[in-house]
């Protein structure tokens, strides 16, 4: 038996009201808000956030032997986001990392590959992430519809929550939605023909095939996690297949958006939150073809409370939203900031967040050192993982440091076990920062320099 053993989804905290987009262009608003990545987020950092939620416990991170990253908006054409995410999660180096891309089906494709890898015995535990920060062209309908998100699933053999019992796949080279290597924005064709011949035809076909193969009827399926290109067509598809509308896991257009590769995962996560032992969950993704995956929920699955992140923030204007987007795409180079010698030398502290514990005086200190900061001891200094949660000890709000949104909040943190850390505070309204506030470390895009994207830790309120 192979299936999903853990799962988490991630939605960025910023919301952009669609009215602000519509006002900008004098267009009709679709209402609600879309979830948008902060200027310091990208597909890689979102995937890290989702992954870190399932990697909390050391036993888990030590046993993961592959990490997959699926996205159509990876920050690099050449450089594996999966390798960097694995390092940020402090996974072992002796694992397989793999990036999947090219299609909105990349997520389910990665999931199917993970299942195959575990079934065949090649791997025992695969962490699959899917993440996208897609851009619809200014003034397009997609600009309103698209949202940003990520999700992570762990595939394994033990303590399975949902077993994969059947799957089907369909390939198609139909032109409906694409992005060339030279394009920043996704191109979407919208017409009744496009929806019918592309999305509907493929999704209906693949769903019917997998139901037939598993010898199940639509009425027997408890949850239908059906991807949607526009937040509406999935209802038409469901009707055609014969699913009652209440079985559909709702695509969060109103407070999220159509998110690309992570969408089927996010819908699956929602279904898993609500599912009970014996339930069937059908996941269908669409993008240059369609994938269908059929899960049965096991009795290992415990109810999980639906938590809502209440710390959302409003993007104040369309102009600021554009500035957020442009930061990750075209921020000025900061000059060469770090040689690869330095990067490698400091990888353990800057990426994996290792600190030193002095066995003589028990002080936990960062960055790692060969001489204890408190007692000058040089023997018995241990490398340990830095705790990633703590409180704000003090802070400032800087208006001098160039950033897409001023001021930049910088804080000294008192982390668990007494270590101190210093970093920017992100995903926060500067007026709300307080000494004593609870925060957790998060990986974010810091700046550009020397032709590289530079990532480092910031903290965000929890």
């Amino acid at each position: 038996m192979v299936g999903i053993t853990d799962y988490a989804s991630y939605v960025p905290r910023y919301r952009l009201r669609r009215d602000l987009i519509a006002e900008q262009w004098g267009a009709k608003s679709l209402g609600g808000s879309k979830a948008v990545a902060n200027f310091d987020e990208d597909a890689l950092t979102q995937a890290f956030e989702a992954a870190s939620r399932v990697i909390q416990r050391p036993e888990l991170s030590d046993s993961v032997d592959a990490l997959y990253f699926a996205s159509t908006t990876s920050p690099y054409w050449q450089r594996a986001a999966s390798s960097f995410i694995a390092a940020a999660c402090d996974l072992r180096e002796e694992i397989e990392t793999l990036d999947f891309g090219g299609s909105l089906r990349a997520g389910t494709g990665a999931l199917r590959s993970a299942v195959n890898a575990v079934s065949s015995g090649s791997n025992s535990k695969v962490l699959v992430t899917a993440s996208d920060v897609r851009e619809g062209a200014p003034e397009s309908v997609e600009e309103q519809i698209f949202g940003d998100a990520a999700a992570a699933l762990v595939v394994g053999r033990e303590r399975i929550l949902a077993e994969l019992i059947d799957q089907a796949s369909l390939a198609s080279d139909f032109f409906d939605e694409w992005r060339r290597d030279r394009d920043r924005y996704v191109t979407s064709l919208t017409s009744r023909y496009t929806t019918e011949r592309g999305y509907l035809a493929n999704v209906v076909s693949v769903a019917q095939r997998v139901l037939k193969s598993a010898d199940l009827k639509p009425e027997q399926i408890t949850f239908v996690a059906l991807s949607s290109p526009d937040g509406r067509a999935h209802r038409v598809a469901a009707k055609k297949i014969g699913f009652a509308p209440e079985k559909l896991v709702e695509v969060p257009l109103d407070d999220g958006g159509v998110t690309g590769t992570p969408l089927p995962f996010s819908l699956l996560c929602k279904a898993l939150d609500l599912a009970k032992s014996g339930d069937f969950i059908l996941v269908v993704s669409y993008g240059d073809g369609a994938d269908a995956l059929l899960f049965r929920v096991t009795d290992t699955k415990q109810p999980r409370p639906q938590t809502r992140d209440s710390l959302t923030l409003e993007v104040p204007s369309y102009g600021i939203y554009r500035r957020f987007r442009d930061f990750t795409r075209s921020a000025a180079e900061d000059g060469a900031v770090i040689s690869n010698v330095m990067f490698e030398k400091e990888e353990k502290q800057n990426v994996r967040l290792y600190a030193t514990r002095c066995m003589n005086c028990d002080t936990l200190q960062f960055p790692p050192t060969g001489v204890c900061v408190k007692c000058r001891n040089r023997e018995g200094l241990q490398e340990v993982r830095l705790p990633r949660r703590g409180t704000i000890f003090t802070f400032t709000k800087d208006y001098l440091y160039a950033a897409p949104k001023l001021p930049t909040v910088l804080a000294v943190l008192e982390l668990e076990e007494g270590a101190r850390f210093y970093c920017q505070v992100t995903d926060i309204d500067p007026d709300k920062v307080k000494i004593g506030q609870n925060v957790e470390l998060t990986l974010r895009r810091l700046k550009e320099g020397g032709g590289m994207h530079h990532y480092y830790w910031k903290c965000r309120p929890v």
């Binding site: 900031v337 770090i338 330095m342 800057n350 002080t363 936990l364 200190q365 960062f366 960055p367 900061v373 408190k374 000890f393 003090t394 802070f395 400032t396 709000k397 800087d398 208006y399 001098l400 440091y401 001021p407 930049t408 910088l410 804080a411 000294v412 007494g418 270590a419 101190r420 850390f421 210093y422 920017q424 000494i435 810091l446 700046k447 320099g449 530079h454 480092y456």
Partner: protein, 388 residues
Amino acid sequence: MTESIKDRVAIIGVGCTKFGDNFDLSYEEMAAEAAFLALKDAGIEADQLGAAWLGTFSPGQGHGKASVSLADAIRLYNRPITRVENFCATGTDAFRNASMAVAAGIYDVVLVLGVEKLKDRPARGLASEGNHAYQHDGSTAPGIFALAATRYLEEFGIERDALAKVAVKNHYNGSLNPKAHFQMEVTEEQVLSAPMVAYPFGLFDCCPTTDGAAAAIICRADIAGRFRDDYVLVKGLGLSVTSGRPWFEPGYNYTGFQATSTAALEAYQMAGIKDPLKELDLAEVHDCFTWTELSNYEDLGFCKKGEGAHFVGEGRSSLEGDLPVNTSGGLKSSGHPIGASGVRMIYEITTQLRGGAGARQVRDPKLGLVHNLGGPGSVACVVILGQP
């Protein structure tokens, strides 16, 4: 410390350029102006200098990187010259090193020159010189001190108006100082409503970005009388260093600077000072930001930790107060051309001790203190000067 420097070194000449937006002056031109003013003040020729020390923090456009910048500025060749750098304590540390060489009897008469040209660079503020690529990203000079100010304000229940009082006092004093960058008074209202720079510091809580140079000529105390009657004596010196990364230091309380306390202790011990508030007549302290001056009162022992706001609020550090602080207008009015600041402070105390400070003259001063603080409060240097 095994020996005191007390009464072994004398200041026989000082010079100082106007501090300000010296756009049309080069590094070398300012260096020469300050040095030749000091030489004239001492009544000596450059040939009589046995050695020299140059304090510049940030070399730019080829100036200030090494000793040659002083040599070429005043054509002092074939002499031992050392460039000193110790963050914002550069100027006083140059003075300190020169004093120790003179006290040891290695050189008779030496020049200390502090020079800094900040306005030639394109970027605003001191920003990210020497920052780690990731670990200090986002740090600016105001931001670094603001971290301490935020914690201090919270812990002692102080509001921004206490900080504003420092700005008002120092701007008033600066208005009486022809060498100061800004010679304008400000009101508390102006300070509180100025644009924010790094919370809790607004524009008027921060010292300006400034060019300037200052110089001092020192000699062995036993020959000082040859040059002038009103020479000033070095009574004590102290320097102390703490961590350059206080934000990583487990348990650091962020409400004051131990480097200042330790440096002051050393200087007080050398000078034989037991009660600085009573025995000092004036002090030039490092007010890079208004809050820093409050901490300085406390760290230098003028009052207890947390009472700095009362000290300034009650007028005890104003020109007519118990212990006038920053009679020159401080860094607030003079600006902070880093390498020059410490030497400018020495210029001010020397001028005051000689009775030459005009409208800002303190009555009959005997002992004065200079305090210079660098990095994120990691390097402090204290010099005590007094009448023979």
